[in-house]
C-alpha cells in the first residue's frame, strides 16, 4: 500500500527526472540539471510546472530547452506541462554540478572556475587544458563559438580548446 505522500513524491521524482534528462542543445553532454538551469518541479492542479532559469541573457538555447522539457514530460505521461522562466536569483556558473564539470572536461571543454568571483570573471586564474591538464595556457579570444565560451590554447600540447566562461 502506497501512501498519498509517497505517491506524490514518486510522481514529482518522475517529472523531475524527465525534465532533468533534457540536454543543452549547444553542449549536448550537459543536462539542464548539470547546468543548474532546472530549478523546480511542482504540481499545480492537474498539470506539472517546471521552473528554469536562463543562463545568459542572449542565450538562444533557452527557447529550445523549454520546448524539449515539454516534450520530455509529455513523453513521460504528464499532460499539458508548463515551463516557467524565473529570473531571480540569477543563474551563475557556480550552480553547475561537479558531475557537470567532469562531463565538460571529458568533452574537451574547460569547466568554469569553481567560484565566479570577479577575479575569475576576468580570467586572472589559470585555466587548465582539458586535454593534458597543463595550466600553461593562453586566451585567444574572449568570445567563442557560443555566448558561454571563450577560446583558449594550451602552450604545452598546443591544442586550442573552449573554456566555459564564469558567469
Amino acid at each position: 500500500m502506497v501512501s498519498v505522500l509517497d505517491r506524490d513524491s514518486e510522481l514529482r521524482r518522475r517529472a523531475w527526472d524527465a525534465a532533468a534528462s533534457v540536454v543543452d542543445p549547444e553542449i549536448p553532454v550537459l543536462t539542464i540539471a548539470d547546468l543548474g538551469v532546472l530549478r523546480d518541479v511542482v504540481f499545480a492542479g492537474d498539470h506539472v510546472e517546471v521552473a528554469i532559469t536562463p543562463t545568459y541573457s542572449g542565450c538562444p538555447a533557452m527557447n529550445m530547452i523549454s520546448l524539449e522539457i515539454e516534450v520530455a514530460l509529455e513523453r513521460a505521461g504528464f499532460r499539458r506541462p508548463k515551463v516557467r522562466t524565473v529570473l531571480s536569483p540569477a543563474w551563475t556558473t557556480d550552480w553547475m554540478t561537479e558531475e557537470g564539470r567532469q562531463k565538460l572536461r571529458a568533452y574537451g571543454i574547460a569547466p568554469p572556475q569553481a567560484s565566479s568571483s570577479r577575479r575569475a570573471l576576468f580570467g586572472e586564474q589559470a585555466v587548465a587544458c582539458p586535454q593534458c591538464g597543463s595550466e600553461n595556457t593562453e586566451l585567444l579570444s574572449e568570445f567563442g563559438s557560443t555566448s558561454c565560451k571563450a577560446l583558449w590554447r594550451c602552450k604545452s600540447c598546443r591544442e586550442p580548446f573552449d573554456y566555459f566562461k564564469c558567469h
Binding site: S57, G58, L87, S88, L121, G144, S147
Partner: protein, 258 residues
C-alpha cells in the same frame, strides 16, 4: 501595407524599462551590422556575441515593460511596432558604426557606464530589475574589458589607428552626458529605491575612462557641452535608417514568427 504603430502607456516604470531596453536593442542591432564584416574572425564572433547579450537584455526588459504595462504589447510589438519618436534610447547607441575605432569607442563609453549601472541596480527594490541587473552586470564587465583592450591597442598602435581612435572619442563625447541625466518620473523611482541615480556614477565612469585613455595615449575632451534628446524621442536621422531595417520584416509581414 504598413502596420499601425502601437500605443504604449508610459508610466514612469514602463518608461524606465523601455529606455534601458531600447539602449540594449539599438546598440545590439548596431553591433550585429558587423556580422560578417569585422576585421577578423575572432572579432566577428566577439561583436556578434556582444550583440546577442544586448538583445537578450533587451528582451528581458521589454518583457518586463510589457508585464508592468499590462496590455497586450509583448516584447516583439515593443521592439518592432513603434514609431521613431517612441524610441527612448540614448543618442550614443544609435550613432553609426563608422570605422572600427568609432564602433569600439561607442562600445567603450557605453560599457563603462553599463558595468557600473547594472552593478548598482542589483540592489534595486524591484526584484525583476535586480535579477536582470545581475545578469547584465557580468555581461557588461566582459564587454568593457573587450572594448578597453581594443582601445589600448588602437590608441597605442600605429599613427593611423591612434588618430582614428582619438577622432572617434572627440566625435562621440557629446553623446555621453545623456547617460547621466534623470527626469522627474525617474527621480521618483530613484527615491523609491527602484532605480538608482546615474549621476552618482559619473566620477567612477570618468575614472575608468581616464585610466584606459592614459594607457592608450589618448586624450579625453575637456568640453562638457552635451547633446540630449533620445530619452524623450528626439533622435538623429540615423535611427530612422536603422529602424527601417530592424522593422522591415514585421512591417511587411505583420505578426511573422520564427
Amino acid at each position: 501595407m504598413a502596420t499601425a504603430n502601437i500605443q504604449v502607456s508610459e508610466t514612469p516604470l514602463v518608461l524606465y524599462a523601455l529606455r534601458r531596453a531600447d539602449d540594449a536593442l539599438i546598440l545590439g542591432h548596431r553591433l550585429s551590422e558587423w556580422c560578417g564584416h569585422a576585421p577578423m574572425l575572432e572579432e566577428d564572433m566577439a561583436l556578434s556575441n556582444i550583440a546577442l547579450d544586448l538583445i537578450g537584455q533587451a528582451r528581458e526588459l521589454y518583457t518586463y515593460a510589457s508585464k508592468v504595462e499590462g496590455k497586450d504589447n509583448d516584447e516583439d510589438k515593443l521592439a518592432y511596432l513603434r514609431d521613431i519618436r517612441q524610441y527612448r534610447n540614448l543618442l550614443l547607441v544609435e550613432q553609426p558604426n563608422g570605422d572600427f575605432a568609432q564602433t569600439l569607442v561607442r562600445q567603450f563609453f557605453y560599457s563603462a557606464f553599463a558595468d557600473l549601472y547594472w552593478r548598482a541596480m542589483m540592489n534595486s527594490r524591484d526584484t525583476t530589475l535586480a535579477a536582470i541587473a545581475a545578469k547584465s552586470e557580468k555581461e557588461s564587465a566582459y564587454h568593457l574589458r573587450h572594448a578597453s583592450e581594443w582601445l589600448i591597442r588602437l590608441g597605442d598602435g600605429t599613427d593611423e589607428s591612434h588618430a582614428r581612435a582619438q577622432a572617434a572619442i572627440d566625435h562621440l563625447w557629446a553623446f555621453t552626458g545623456e547617460m547621466f541625466a534623470v527626469d522627474d518620473g525617474e527621480r521618483a523611482l530613484i527615491h523609491a529605491g527602484i532605480a538608482i541615480d546615474p549621476g552618482t556614477l559619473r566620477g567612477r565612469w570618468l575614472q575608468t575612462l581616464s585610466n584606459v585613455a592614459s594607457e592608450a595615449t589618448l586624450v579625453l575632451p575637456e568640453n562638457d557641452w552635451m547633446q540630449q534628446g533620445g530619452r524623450t524621442g528626439r533622435h538623429s536621422e540615423h535611427l530612422g535608417h536603422l529602424l527601417s531595417e530592424l522593422q522591415s520584416m514585421q512591417r511587411t509581414f505583420p505578426g511573422l514568427t520564427w
